[in-house]
Symmetry: C2
Subunit: 125 residues, 2 copies
């Protein structure tokens, strides 16, 4: 049931993200970067539950579009600090607005109590 619900949401997200020209994983990366809790590529990959080697081409694309910057970490020159640009923040905000709208439509199928419980429970699973 979880997988089915997740697939439904992902399918609903796909056209919205495509309209903004970002893939699902790119969107996930932007979202986590906006939180600022994953400064380095490895930390970001782990936070996303993604592989560091697969993350590279995602970041390559985002960097080429000017949505993020990669700069060497002064305290450890092996590592690279990934940061959102102003464009990146704008793109994320625009995409998030569309997705929130879609999510609100889906959640409207539930009662207020159900919505509350679902949103409280999901992060704990």
């Amino acid at each position: 049931m979880l997988a089915r619900a997740a697939r439904r949401i992902i399918e609903a997200e796909r056209p919205l993200l495509e309209a903004h020209g970002v893939s699902m994983w790119a969107y996930a990366a932007l979202t986590l970067l906006a939180r600022g809790s994953a400064p380095t590529q490895l930390a970001l990959a782990e936070a996303m539950g993604y592989d560091k080697s697969r993350l590279i081409k995602i970041l390559d694309g985002l960097e080429a579009e000017g949505l993020i910057t990669r700069s060497p970490d002064p305290t450890d020159r092996r590592a690279r600090v990934v940061e959102l640009t102003a464009q990146g923040r704008a793109k994320l905000a625009a995409a998030q607005a569309d997705i929130r709208r879609m999510e609100d439509e889906v959640l409207a199928e539930l009662s207020a109590d159900e919505r509350k419980t679902l949103l409280a429970v999901l992060p704990r699973l």
Copy 2:
């Protein structure tokens, strides 16, 4: 959040299913066949949200292991009726028991009310 929760459950399922020698999609097929609501291969594929051409090798495997039978539909000789064998039912029951145990452990993290609401809400999403 949905995708993350679904992934967690799927990861927890993987070793259990492997111990029984069935893949995730094979398990899904067995589960739907047990309900008897998807008699033909096409109906089964649609019920699983899977592609009919990908389903073939799943069924090939299940048939080779003696867990299902494929027989021509007398009313439409293009179609094949897929049915669980006694072995198939036994295999499914054994796997389901392990998975239910795992699910109970996960759900034990929630309160009774939360469990009830979650299980009522998920099928509707």
